[in-house]
């Protein structure tokens, strides 16, 4: 067998690993345009912060080591097109045919151009190059002020980095609140208070409109007319699935549509990771869930199936943990769904705070502040309810939740409300 893997991030890595577990002899050809080992985009800010050495960006080791370990043939080339009909991969150097092809091209950070912003002051945050560029710039020591656009998990991590470098930071978002896709407004408000207390200038309902020079100071003019000094601008606005290589070849919505086997609409062509759109178990609809663990699971399932196995990855729910500025924010599920409220702890207090919204006998969404300990069990409970299981916690999970400080009344109420 000849396997082609297009894009060598974590999804591609996990696919290669799964192929090798089943097929020791097949040829595994990997295409990557970075010339680097698979890296983790979420570690970029940790590297700049100084929590990790540069090598820490590559969790699976250096490229040669990875290639050796898994017996891979590396192609340091950008793939231009994948032809589904004859399972061919086109690069500048030519065309190669395979028996199975995986698209694992991930996603790219995107931002619309900002008028007046010089390219050297504009920063995105996804790739190793993005990280190195911002680190080099900050190490020069001439950045005193910055605007970060996008109050997302990525945005707040960039803010944290800038804060560490002593930069005066303004965090702005058109949304009315921080973490608009994961947090309930009340929880957002509490987080905003904590962030503001650290001296971060927060602006919501506004974004950057253009840049101007005011008395020699680079200045961001915001959409609400206010102005903010900004030696640099970090744009954490969004990501887009990298689907160009299969445009017109397979079914694509926002991402490449896949089933539980990670098969696309074209036989022999699979997709996994941030470029793929699998099932959201809560809504039942297909949605890109751009998370590390999801990319790993999808990649592993794709690889196993490419090698003739029978692996299924049913889907996922939105889930996020962001550890920043000495706090934990955890968000599960769809924060737009309204329902009955279950709450424990005070939003302005210390320690565990949890808010769950129950709708239709399920936990539709949950926010947790400052208690990673209950997070894994709560997520598991949500997943079991979405899978149609009845609402009751086994004794070992209940005991661990109680020990972590969740009250029996909270657990009992949650069980009653989800008993169906």
């Amino acid at each position: 067998m000849r396997y082609g893997i297009v894009g060598f991030g974590t999804a591609g890595y996990h696919a290669a690993q799964a192929i090798r577990e089943q097929d020791k002899a097949g040829e595994v050809h990997v295409y990557g345009d970075t010339g680097l080992a698979p890296y983790n985009p979420m570690l970029t800010t940790y590297y700049i912060f100084g929590k990790l050495p540069r090598s820490g960006l590559f969790p699976f080791g250096p490229l040669e080591e990875v290639a050796d370990r898994l017996g891979l043939t590396l192609h340091h080339e950008r793939v231009q097109k994948v032809r589904a009909q004859d399972l061919a991969v086109e690069t500048e150097r030519g065309v190669q045919r395979y028996d199975k092809i995986l698209i694992a091209t991930g996603a790219t950070a995107f931002a619309p151009p900002v008028k007046g912003l010089s390219p050297q002051d504009a920063h995105l945050m996804r790739t190793v190059d993005d990280a190195q560029r911002l680190k080099d710039r900050l190490d020069r020591g001439d950045v005193r002020s910055a605007v970060v656009v996008g109050a997302s998990m990525a945005g707040i991590k960039v803010v944290e980095v800038l804060e560490k470098y002593g930069v005066r930071v303004c965090l702005a978002d058109l949304a009315p609140h921080i973490f608009p896709l994961a947090a309930y407004p009340e929880v957002s408000a509490a987080i905003e208070k904590r962030v503001a207390k650290r001296g971060i200038d927060l602006r919501f309902g506004a974004t950057i409109d253009h840049m101007e020079l005011w008395n020699g100071q680079k200045t961001a003019v915001m959409t609400d007319g206010s102005v903010v000094p900004a030696d640099l601008v970090s744009l954490c606005i969004g990501t887009r699935a990298a689907t160009q290589v299969v445009q017109g070849e397979v079914d694509i919505d926002r991402g490449i549509l896949v089933n539980e086997r990670m098969e696309t609409s074209a036989p022999g062509v699979y997709a996994a990771g941030d470029c793929a759109q699998g099932v959201n178990l809560e809504s039942g609809e297909k949605q890109i869930i751009g998370l590390w663990a999801n990319a790993n699971r999808q990649g592993a399932a794709a690889g196993a199936n490419m090698a003739g196995g029978e692996a299924r990855f049913e889907g996922n729910i939105l889930h996020n943990i962001t550890h920043f500025m000495d706090m934990d924010f955890i968000g599960f599920g769809d924060n737009r769904i309204q329902g009955e409220l279950l709450e424990q702890g005070a939003l302005d207090g210390d320690g565990l705070y949890v808010r769950a919204v129950i709708s239709g006998g399920r936990v539709a969404g949950a926010n947790i502040l400052d208690s990673y300990r209950i997070s894994g069990i709560l997520k598991n409970y949500m997943l079991r309810l979405f899978a149609g299981e009845g609402g009751s916690l086994p004794d070992y999970q209940r005991a661990m939740l109680l020990q972590a400080g969740l009250r029996a009344e909270f657990i009992d109420r949650m069980e009653v409300m989800t008993r169906g």
Binding site: W292, F313, I321, E389, M400
Partner: protein, 173 residues
Amino acid sequence: MSKRYAIDLDVSKCVSCGACAVACMDQNDLNVKQTRPFRNVFDMERQEGEGTTYSHLSLACMHCVDAPCIVGCPSACIQKDPETNLTVFDTTNCIGCHSCAMACPYGVPGFGPDGKMVKCDGCYVRVHHGLKPACVKACPTGALRLIDLDGPEEIAPENSLRHRSMEMLSKQV
């Protein structure tokens, strides 16, 4: 020869005596003022409808076959020990993100004073040397066991914490 081990509890034999938890702290030199103990012992009584249920439990890392914490860790700190298949870790590059805790459906991962993850490693070094994990050795009732996943069932499935939680575990992503 590499083996596939896990640590399992026979819930019908556990009496919540706590010997395992003490042995573990001792074995790992754990300062419990700074770090939560790896092994958690429970003696739980619950009113359910008419009756009362009693749970005697000892819970630490279950060394899941398809461990969600491994998949969730952004830095690949958590791995399977090739010799024993126990879930071990090297937290040199741990960033303290708590993703492993969000992935674990048993609530196991804890954190040391340096903010890095710590948990039960199955006493894999002892196991390499043919010894039992400290907690297993200390258990006076034989409830806690190092089990060979490819050997015959040592604990009746209805009493095995591992078996009882398999369905639950299969839903975790």
